[in-house]
């Protein structure tokens, strides 16, 4: 049997048929993201279907939820997405450092360590703001099963049932907390993963322009999470 010898056992597919044309970690992450789309389809699709059946009774946008705060939070997540892609560009250019003075430029040039840190901070910030928002909402009486008896929101709903969608508050609460909760869970997983990579791979400068697969892969996940939020923000908070 004729065989070919492997030169680099760490990099499958070590002599292989042409496949996707991208390395396996990236391919795997894209396939995983496709599955995550189906997961959010179940949640978001159910929301669309449920709300469609009772569209006229749904609470008006801004009545219960804090749109300005969430708008700011959305901006924070978008910023983290930008810093993520800047981190990716940095390591592609070989900039493993934190900050470096560049002649001719006023601002210092950020490297991988800088931009990834920004991403982690913005991501953690997003989760924190969302947690604070949840605590505030539950305090006001907005729970997964609707407006809590005797709470502030229940009183508002009695006074103005149309604006607060009194009849279908149960569905409002169910869909809101499930969708945003699982999105927040995805963000948290992303932040934890980035922290792990930061301490085990980024700080010891293990990534190089020849091999920065981990950054690209976590970047794809992070942008996906941002993408889902862009959709969620519109259809949950603004409509």
């Amino acid at each position: 049997m004729q065989t070919s010898t492997v030169t680099d056992a760490m990099r499958p597919p070590f002599p292989a048929e042409p496949g996707a044309g991208v390395y396996s970690n990236k391919l795997g992450m894209w396939v995983f993201l496709a599955s995550d789309v189906m997961f959010f389809t179940a949640l978001i699709g159910s929301y669309i279907v449920l709300r469609f059946g009772m569209a006229s009774q749904w609470a008006q946008p801004g009545a219960v939820l804090n749109v300005p705060l969430t708008g700011l939070n959305t901006f924070l997540l978008i910023c983290s997405s930008v810093s993520m892609v800047k981190a990716y560009a940095a390591i592609a250019d070989g900039k493993k450092y934190f900050l470096r003075k560049v002649p001719g430029k006023r601002l210092q040039d950020g490297g991988l360590k800088f931009w990834l840190l920004i991403t982690i901070i913005c991501g953690a910030g997003f989760v924190s703001v969302q947690l604070v928002e949840y605590i505030k909402l539950v305090g006001e009486g907005f729970t997964p099963s609707g407006y809590r008896e005797g709470s502030l929101l229940a009183e508002h709903a009695l006074a103005d049932p149309v604006k607060y969608g009194a009849g279908v508050a149960g569905m409002y609460g169910s869909t809101f907390f499930t969708m945003t909760g699982f999105h927040g869970f995805h963000v948290t997983c992303g932040v934890i993963s980035m922290l792990y990579l930061y301490f085990t791979k980024v700080l010891p400068e293990k990534y190089s322009p020849q091999d920065y697969r981990g950054i690209e892969v976590i970047g794809l996940y992070w942008h996906f999470v941002d993408l889902v939020w862009i959709i969620l923000f519109t259809i949950v908070y603004l409509i």
Partner: protein, 95 residues
């Protein structure tokens, strides 16, 4: 390990995309709350804005614009499935 193939595409201006996203988000919030637009039209415009923003992230930040079709296909495949599920269940509910 041989040196990787050089990039064949121009790197997009990430800060410009960020600006677009920022402006579109402001536009969305204004549209939703301030502008006097009919409800159905508002819904459609907001959805278009959201999808446009999502596509900017997918195409530029996730580099899909510069990847092969095969990779884009992986991300595109679930979308018609999602559409079929939602459409069918709505048709069913309407009945």
């Amino acid at each position: 390990m041989t040196t990787p193939a050089p990039t064949t595409h121009v790197r997009p201006n990430y800060m410009l995309i960020w600006l677009y996203l920022f402006v579109m988000t402001i536009a969305e919030v204004l549209l939703a709350f301030e502008l006097p637009v009919a409800r159905n039209l508002k819904l459609i415009l907001l959805l278009i804005l959201a999808i446009w923003k999502a596509m900017l992230v997918a195409l530029f930040f996730m580099h899909l614009k510069f990847e092969r079709w095969r990779l884009r296909l992986i991300f595109l495949v679930p979308l018609p499935l999602a559409a079929i599920l939602v459409t069918t269940v709505i048709m069913e509910k309407v009945f």
